[in-house]
């Protein structure tokens, strides 16, 4: 019985892995709320709460991308695309740059203190600081 529960637990974790929102360790930002994360990735603010500039980066349209926006904004990839085309092609805001998968996000965050990204929690390294966990 224990084994079954364990397996189910593992299976669930694999399916619904946590996603960590990460910044550069030297960014001066320690933690963010879900509302702040949402504002940054939906283009409603261009600054961290401490006033310094922020540049969000997106993962390519895979399961992490899908899960992240479903959790923070309640939107499907199709709805996210509709949301952004109305802003990017009408001069209102620019969508986060798509940089690739977990490792490319880590590279982008490592290189620039303004960058913020999201990765599978299992992929977190010492190069980045977790400021919010999407569950």
């Amino acid at each position: 019985m224990k084994k079954i529960i364990l397996s189910v637990a593992i299976a669930t974790t694999a399916l619904m892995a946590d996603i960590s929102v990460v910044v550069n360790p030297n960014s001066g930002v320690d933690s963010l709320t879900q509302s702040q994360v949402k504002k940054i990735f939906m283009g409603k603010t261009k600054q961290f709460p401490n006033g310094s500039a922020v540049r969000p980066v997106d993962q390519n349209s895979g399961s992490t991308y899908k899960e992240f926006y479903k959790k923070i904004a309640g939107k499907s990839p199709s709805k996210m695309n509709k949301y952004w085309v109305k802003l990017t092609f009408t001069g209102k805001a620019e969508a986060p740059k798509k940089v690739g998968s977990n490792s490319s996000v880590i590279d982008a965050v490592k290189e620039n203190t303004k960058t913020i990204g999201y990765i599978d929690s299992s992929a977190v390294t010492n190069d980045v600081k977790v400021v919010y966990t999407v569950k």
Binding site: K46, S78, N81, V85, F89, T90
Partner: protein
């Protein structure tokens, strides 16, 4: 068309090579639209009424409304950026590829963004993203309303302010001002009308939340018109620093599976014989998984002003200028949108239109009305990239 595709390919290629050099982002969208209706051009029985309707006649056409757009965007500093959007499309005038947007943006604060250059004013609910078929249910927004938006671009300044009232509602206001010009070719006699719109200004006020947008838009302009037609063209028919006003109020809702949009708009043209127009529509759609069937009812009502002058030449010109585009009309549209994936859609549409042509009877001040019924069928593929 081949040339256009080639030029766009060159632009894309150039874009990709500069991508390596700096931080330039490339994105774009495409609409491939085919259509046909049951108009018989130059029909001897009905007389010359509509040459075409929303770009189609009884021959299948896949070019008139198709378009491809590519946008380059570059960050200059954290607060400043530059954007160019090019659109390749067959037009009435001769442009093949035109710059639709081209501006420097400056984010003064999170709330205040200033665009300087060429932008598209948000006069009606869908005006600023009318080219992006992916973003709405129709193949193109109802022509009864959107044909009245004669000002589609402005060279000038666009100041946008948006603030969150609370966690749910955002209030935004945009002010725009500048100049613009358009060309219109008269299909009947091949002449060109050039419109110059100076001292154009207006604004948009909008209230949005997660599911809905309430919009108010207004533009005022001073229109001057010249024509390539010979000197017999009565000058009193041309806009001469005429005051033109456009306004619109609209609401769209995208709540769970329910989709709704409705607008009421008006166009007032002073010191000209061109008719004032009011128009409106309502659309309702319901999302069943990847399919969204939708229905739209739309009406345009034009108010002919010219009635005192009985000059036959003028009346003939009025008739020819008006042919096919300013009549009263009512359309019922049934459409189906299918999400192919998160970046492309396929749509089919049937539009049933009742038109009433009003033409002047020579030597009198009376109007002759003629009714016409048009059935239009369209298909479309929309993609964003």
């Amino acid at each position: 068309m081949k040339n256009k595709v080639l030029s766009l390919a060159t632009i894309i290629a150039l874009g990709s090579s500069s991508l390596l050099a700096g931080d330039i982002r490339v994105s774009g969208f495409m609409n491939i639209i085919g259509g046909v209706n049951d108009i018989e051009p130059n029909d001897a029985v009905t007389g010359k009424t509509s040459e075409s309707y929303i770009g189609y006649d009884n021959q299948y056409d896949f070019t008139n409304q198709s378009l491809a757009a590519i946008q380059f965007n570059s960050t200059i500093t954290d607060k400043m950026g530059a954007t160019v959007q090019l659109i390749a499309q067959k037009r009435e005038a001769d442009d093949d590829i035109r710059m639709e947007w081209g501006y420097i943006s400056y984010d003064a604060t999170d709330e205040l963004r200033i665009l300087i250059g060429k932008t598209r004013p948000a006069l009606f609910l869908y005006s600023d993203y009318i080219d992006i078929g992916f973003a709405y249910n129709w193949i193109t927004p109802p022509s009864e309303v959107y044909d009245q938006a004669n000002i589609t671009n402005l060279d000038g300044v666009n100041i946008a302010y948006a603030t969150e009232l609370n966690d749910d509602y955002t209030f935004s206001t945009t002010l725009f001002g500048g100049n613009t010009s358009t060309k219109k070719r008269n299909a009947l006699n091949g002449s060109t009308l050039d419109f110059v719109m100076n001292k154009t200004f207006g604004g948009e006020i909008a209230l949005t939340n997660e599911y809905a947008k309430l919009h108010l838009g207004y533009i005022h302009s001073r229109v001057t018109e010249t024509t390539t037609l010979n000197s017999t063209f009565p000058s009193e028919l041309l806009f001469d620093k005429s005051e033109a006003s456009f306004y619109g109020v609209g609401l769209n809702v995208d709540y769970n599976n329910i989709q709704f949009a409705s607008e009421y708009i008006g166009k007032e043209l002073d010191e000209t014989i061109s008719p004032d127009v009011t128009a409106y529509y309502a659309m309702i759609g319901y999302k069943f998984g990847d399919f969204t069937p939708n229905y739209t009812y739309s009406v345009a009502d034009s108010d002919m002003k010219y009635s005192s002058n009985s000059d036959v030449a003028i009346k003939t010109q009025v008739n020819s200028m008006r042919a096919g585009n300013l009549d009263d009309r009512t359309s019922n549209t049934i459409g189906l949108r299918y999400e192919i994936n998160a970046r492309s859609t396929f749509k089919i549409e049937y539009i049933h239109t009742n038109l009433t042509h009003s033409t002047y009877v020579a030597e009198t001040t009376s109007l002759k009305e003629k009714a016409e019924m048009i059935n239009t069928y369209r298909v479309a593929l929309n993609a964003i990239f």
